[in-house]
């Protein structure tokens, strides 16, 4: 017996976000980033408590949401006044709208398929009693074509259903936060890159990043960048 455990009923992070936006009757063109981000994170945390594997796409989206949220808190820079400053939410909104159109189209196709299933055809009649002439022999069709047809079919078969996927390790933001706190108490100050040298996988890195953002939000950690694109310094302010 195999079991498939999916992240609830959502097809992906965009699906989840759309659900949250619809559920709270929020204007998609003016998404309140703080509350939507909180709800999104809450959902992920809930999944964690159920020990469900969270696909990395969901974590990447979490990072995106947090980044948009933080950019919206920043004062608009005065250096390039002339240029219209783009709403940091714009690319996300565009993505959500595109995905919603995709869902709409999928629903249409589903209805069309259902209508089609209401209609029955008939197996072609065996016409050979009506045939007076001989069927011409096959020409140019060889045994090789037959084997080749089978090989092509074989290549078209979908990968075998892999229904159970159990990961030995689940990254949890709370755990990583504890780890960071412990290390920052010793270091007091360090660079972001140094702190995460150990994180090899993308989910691990994203989780670590989320943990840092959570600690900053809690006011226990501060972050400083002395020059554009320079190293990110983390400073311990907690306790």
């Amino acid at each position: 017996m195999s079991y498939e455990v999916r992240l609830a009923q959502f097809e992906g992070p965009l699906d989840l976000l759309l659900h949250l936006i619809r559920k709270h009757e929020v204007d998609i063109y003016d998404i309140p980033m703080a509350s939507i981000t909180d709800q999104y994170m809450e959902y992920l945390h809930e999944m964690e408590t159920w020990s469900l594997e969270i696909a990395s796409e969901f974590l990447v989206m979490a990072a995106t949401l947090l980044s948009i949220k933080s950019r919206m808190l920043l004062p608009r820079t005065r250096t390039n006044d002339e240029e219209e400053v783009e709403d940091p939410r714009a690319p996300l909104v565009e993505q959500l709208l595109e995905y919603e159109r995709c869902k709409w189209a999928a629903a249409q196709l589903s209805t069309m398929a259902a209508n089609r299933a209401e209609v029955y055809s008939r197996q072609p009649m065996d016409l050979h009693p009506f045939r007076t002439r001989e069927v011409p022999p096959l020409s140019g069709v060889t045994l090789w074509d037959l084997v080749d047809a089978f090989r092509k079919l074989y290549l078209r078969l979908p990968p075998s259903e892999r229904v159970a996927e159990i990961r030995g390790h689940v990254e949890r933001v709370e755990h990583v936060m504890e780890e960071i706190v412990e290390r920052m108490r010793r270091y007091r100050m360090t660079e972001f890159a140094v702190l995460f040298q150990g994180a090899r996988t993308r989910p691990a890195l994203v989780t670590a990043f989320l943990a840092v953002l959570e600690l900053i939000k809690d006011g226990r950690l501060a972050c400083r960048q002395t020059e554009p694109f320079g190293p990110l310094e983390l400073i311990w302010v907690g306790d």
């Binding site: 029955y120 055809s121 008939r122 197996q123 072609p124 009649m125 065996d126 016409l127 050979h128 009506f130 045939r131 007076t132 002439r133 069927v135 011409p136 022999p137 096959l138 020409s139 140019g140 069709v141 060889t142 045994l143 074509d145 037959l146 084997v147 047809a149 089978f150 090989r151 092509k152 079919l153 074989y154 290549l155 078209r156 078969l157 979908p158 990968p159 075998s160 892999r162």
Partner: protein
């Protein structure tokens, strides 16, 4: 009127196997007598307007057939110059039947991921594939296999001479569906 059309739809879809009166009664939810009366009504109606199709009763089985007057058109259709090659779909079905026989249409559909009735009809028509029996399962589905015409056309003395499939795939029913994922993906 409504039941008459329902009967027409049912007889149309059931194909050349036809249906017994009691099956018709149970599908339409009417008595045996009513089922028979409906069949006779449908026959009269189709006869009256000289439709392309007619109701035929053989023993206790009813089926729809083409009206004999139009046989010439069917001959012409059967005669339409047949291509000397096979379509990709027909070739694929033929390959599946050759290597997996005896096999039902549902099993062919399952392996191919698409309905195969059109391609199968072509192969039967060309006498490369034929009914070789019935599966002992609900509905007693037809089992298909290749014919001696198939062996002749492909220059084989027997089915043992079919070339083995690469990596012996398909020799057992299971191996088809246990593919290494790196091959099966695009």
């Amino acid at each position: 009127m409504h039941l008459l059309s329902a009967l027409e739809a049912v007889l149309f879809a059931v194909g050349s196997d036809g249906l017994e009166t009691r099956d018709i009664a149970s599908i339409l939810g009417v008595s045996l007598g009513e089922a028979e009366s409906l069949c006779l009504q449908l026959r009269a109606q189709l006869d009256e307007r000289a439709a392309g199709i007619a109701v035929q009763q053989v023993a206790d089985t009813w089926q729809l057939v083409t009206r004999p007057e139009y046989a010439d058109y069917l001959k012409r259709m059967a005669q339409t110059p047949m291509q000397s090659t096979l379509s990709t779909a027909a070739l694929e079905v033929l390959a599946v039947v050759a290597y997996k026989q005896p096999i039902t249409r549902a099993e062919i559909d399952e392996i191919r991921g698409v309905q195969s009735d059109r391609a199968l009809a072509t192969l039967v028509h060309r006498q490369l594939v034929a009914e070789v029996g019935r599966q002992d399962a609900p509905g007693r589905p037809i089992l298909y296999g290749t014919t001696s015409e198939f062996l002749r056309q492909f220059g084989l003395r027997s089915l043992d001479e079919l070339p083995p499939l690469p990596e012996d795939l398909g020799r057992e029913g299971v191996s088809l569906f246990q593919l290494p994922s790196d091959i099966a993906r695009d």
